[in-house]
């Protein structure tokens, strides 16, 4: 009973605050490189800290990939924007609106051919001008078909 006495957390929530379009399936030859793009869309009025947050205490956006036969060469983030909010004394480094994170993979020469799913984790922490939501991690699935 007490648990439903007061529930401001249920009211605004952060459902659908950030959505990710999963990268399309890639067919890649062994010993070749390819780039996978993860499209991110934030609800208007909200932002996430960039991958290079302005304060040590802020939690930055980060895309990581689980170990797989693929080699992760580089994860690239867009150029962040410096925005001033009601809560910040000076502009802070953020992403807002729509943006893409790209990852360059390399298929090793010895990789076994066939379909596989590479799993990534996107960690972010979102805020509006007035409030912040707890850090969240969402899974990103990248289907890859390794061909000879």
């Amino acid at each position: 009973m007490a648990a439903i006495l007061w529930m401001p957390g249920l009211l605004p929530g952060q459902t659908n605050l950030l959505t990710v379009t999963p990268p399309p399936k890639q067919s890649v030859k062994k010993n070749a490189e390819f780039t996978a793009k993860v499209d991110v869309q934030l609800r208007p009025g909200y932002h996430v800290n960039s991958n290079t947050p302005s304060d040590d205490y802020l939690i930055g956006l980060r895309l990581t990939w689980a170990a797989s036969p693929l080699d992760v060469q580089q994860v690239s983030y867009p150029k962040p924007s410096m925005e001033k909010y009601d809560f910040s004394e000076k502009p802070i480094s953020v992403f807002s609106g729509g943006f893409a994170i790209t990852t360059r993979f390399r298929i090793p020469a010895g990789a076994a051919p066939g379909m596989m799913i590479v799993t990534g984790k996107l960690r972010y922490q979102a805020c509006s001008n007035k409030e912040c939501f707890p850090p969240k991690t969402i899974e990103v699935k990248l289907p890859v078909d390794i061909v000879n």
């Binding site: 439903i4 007061w6 529930m7 249920l10 304060d55 809560f87 409030e131 912040c132 707890p134």
Partner: protein
């Protein structure tokens, strides 16, 4: 599960309706600096958590005091802005029976919180939330979330998100001035006097 969620949402909607004068529930914002009438206030759920020194802090320890119960986190920018206000309130109103109680929602617990509150020179008591306590207060999924409690431990107002310092100050002063309505404890004794010393952590 679905029934439970449905019930919770219905309850939230009901509370939202009750609070329509205080907050806009779709985009929760305080629109006035006035506390709810006494008859409409509900008791703040009791909890027991530890402070930075490992001492147990119960909300009921604060009965008899006006309390600003502030849910916050080190990663929350708007929360950081409020901290100097709360330091000021603690200093200014402490002798009139007021205390700030910060409840950190940091997943990393004291490892993250302790250096932060030392750096910010926080002069009020801080505890680290458990999932159970967060659930008691509705999950507290958005920060800052602050509950302004009267001397009887009842919720006089709630603010989700950043509001101005003057909103808090007006409400605190309003509740502090309302001494005539302090009720004795259930055992018929006097109202609990001081609660814990709300010194630095």
């Amino acid at each position: 599960m679905l029934v439970s969620l449905h019930r919770s949402l219905l309850a939230a909607a009901a509370i939202c309706g009750m609070l329509v004068l205080n907050v806009n529930c779709g985009n929760t914002r305080s629109v006035r600096a006035a506390v709810k009438p006494e008859k409409d206030r509900k008791s703040a759920p009791e909890f027991s958590l530890k402070d930075a020194h490992g001492r147990v802090v119960k909300l009921s320890d604060y009965k008899g005091k006006v309390v600003l119960l502030n849910f916050w986190a080190t990663w929350c920018g708007p929360c950081k802005i409020e901290i100097p206000w709360f330091i000021d309130f603690e200093q200014k109103f402490k002798d009139r029976g007021f205390a700030v109680l910060g409840v950190s929602m940091d997943e990393d617990g004291w490892e993250a919180v302790k250096p932060y509150i030392e750096k910010q020179k926080v002069n009020y008591r801080v505890v680290v939330a458990s999932d159970e306590v967060a659930d008691l207060y509705g999950g507290v999924s958005s920060l800052p979330t602050s509950f302004v409690l009267d001397r009887q431990g009842k919720i006089a107002d709630v603010h989700v998100g950043l509001v101005s310092k003057s909103v808090y100050q007006n409400e605190i002063e309003q509740l502090l001035d309302n001494k005539a309505h302090v009720q004795p404890d259930a055992d018929g004794g006097n109202p609990v006097d001081a609660g814990p010393a709300s010194g630095p952590n």
